[in-house]
Symmetry: C2
Subunit: 321 residues, 2 copies
């Protein structure tokens, strides 16, 4: 069993125990059922695993970081509930989204309550680190909201630069990975230097991860990814691939703008290869991955045991889905 699997298991066990705790049995059930539903949907549990692994990397028992792990996982799922409303997404992981299942109002409200419960997890951290943990968590939470607002603004903005795009995905996705790690360090009583180094590791790994997502959406193996590829291309989503291609071949991108056919996906993918957009995205993915490993080396120099984190990073980098 790898470290990732062991920590996933530890987290899932505490999640199940948590489901029988008083707070999950509060009334009215309509408010709490959607939270149990989305938290029970599965997934890699990457964020909580990062918190637990950071604590272990400092020589502490991973259990000490469980409050941090639940805080970031609850926050992540709160943001999924509300993002799915904003994106009008009907399905997540093959199941109806919360607003599809329970309606708009309960989706807004159970998301709100889940955000509060993220802070309730955080409260279980040692009192000595609570002010600092709140600072990291609040800043991250605001940035995630800002990232989502930018993402929506970009849909109607005709000219999005790559730099703006990178900043958007960092806020929307990467900062929470950094936060998960820094909270794990805080929980284990680690130094500020290690906290900042592992935050940077998470930030860069998350950026690489999100660029990877963009690439897989267009060029992944449909069997492995588990869905038809090309969704981003069909909806003209301003991914790093799209932004690059539209600077290289603006006319081509414009021609296909209002098309939603399979031919469009093939034509755009071919152009992305020929124009070097795919190679450009792959280079950026590798670049941010290397920055992540560099941050990890800094943490190691400060006495942090980084082997499991490095393994996790390589697992993330090599994923096919």
């Amino acid at each position: 069993m790898t470290a990732v699997e062991r920590l996933q298991r530890l987290f899932l066990q505490s999640l199940e125990t948590g489901f029988s705790e008083p707070e999950w049995n509060r009334q009215p059930d309509r408010l709490y059922a959607p939270q149990r539903y989305i938290l029970g949907m599965g997934g890699k549990r990457l964020r909580p695993v990062l918190s637990l692994m950071a604590a272990e990397a400092l020589g502490a028992r991973p259990e000490i970081a469980l409050p941090a792990a639940h805080a970031v996982e609850r926050f992540h799922n709160f943001s999924l509930i509300h993002d799915d409303i904003m994106d009008e997404a009907p399905v997540r992981r093959g199941k109806p989204t919360v607003h599809t299942q329970w309606g708009l109002n309960t989706a807004i409200l159970s998301g709100d309550a889940l955000l509060v419960m993220a802070y309730e997890s955080l409260r279980s951290l040692p009192a000595t680190v609570l002010p600092q943990a709140l600072e990291v968590f609040n800043r991250t939470a605001l940035e995630v909201c800002e990232g989502q607002q930018w993402d929506m603004d970009f849909e109607i903005d005709p000219e999005v630069q790559e730099g703006q795009y990178i900043q958007m995905i960092r806020y929307k996705t990467s900062v929470l990975l950094g936060c998960a790690l820094e909270l794990g360090v805080l929980a284990a009583g680690g130094s500020l230097t290690i906290g900042k180094a592992l935050y940077a590791f998470g930030l860069e790994l998350g950026t690489s991860f999100q660029i990877h997502d963009d690439i897989l959406d267009a060029f992944g193996d449909p069997v492995l990814v588990g869905k038809q590829v090309g969704g981003d291309i069909l909806s003209n989503k301003k991914t790093i691939l799209w932004i690059h291609l539209s600077t290289q071949q603006p006319h081509l991108v414009n021609e296909w703008m209002n098309d939603r056919s399979a031919e469009k996906v093939e034509a755009i993918k071919t152009a992305m290869v020929q124009s070097g957009s795919l190679a450009h995205a792959e280079a950026k993915r590798k670049y941010h991955f290397d920055l992540a490993l560099e941050a990890l080396r800094q943490a190691q120099q400060e006495g942090c045991s980084t082997q499991d984190l490095a393994e996790l990073a390589h697992w993330i980098f090599q994923r096919k889905a």
Copy 2:
């Protein structure tokens, strides 16, 4: 100038200063403009005044409770943004609601960010009281969400009992008043006993306040209230008046159910007077007000200077709008 006016002014001054702080100038502006908009709408600022007054009642400078005051005011306004979406309310205080002005998605997201900023205010409390402040705040926040869910559930529930209704308004409205006071006590380094006594004062005052709101909606002076009365009657809202009348005259209530005329308002109001529903609601309003004063006496016995709080309570009790 009364104590209430003085503390309102203190809060408003710090609100204006806060507007020029870095956090309010963050980007994207679409996320923060709605927050400035709703926080600038005005109102009695009852919740922050309660926090400041609680600190003063303990002999502390009111400024020490400003983090608590901003936390409860931000939380209150976050809940207004999201409640207005759920209630499909087009107007608040004579202005377009946030979702009317900026759309659903930005209303959800700027509400989320305002909830995070409530926690960011809380973080400025002394580190020694932060864990306890978070406990009070989180519990209250969950209860407010639960109250809102109950309120929505009651719309489609044909049989709502008075006890359920009282519990709903306590969660939706009163607990935040109690929380505002208890946080003020914590900020000033007050005892647990005083904290709990002032919490109880706020809880009962809030309950009396909400029953008063129900009464004013039907029997208030339209000139003083600033709007046509009878809105709750037209929409068959299950207020304490409606619940009482429907047990006394179920046939009458049923007859008018699908009517939305001015005659309905007059007929139901007359029935509410004749059936004793109005007298019943007035008695309950007085009952919870007396419980509030009793809690205040307990706080006084513990050395708390309760004169301003008592004056505020009487001001609230005697309001005509």
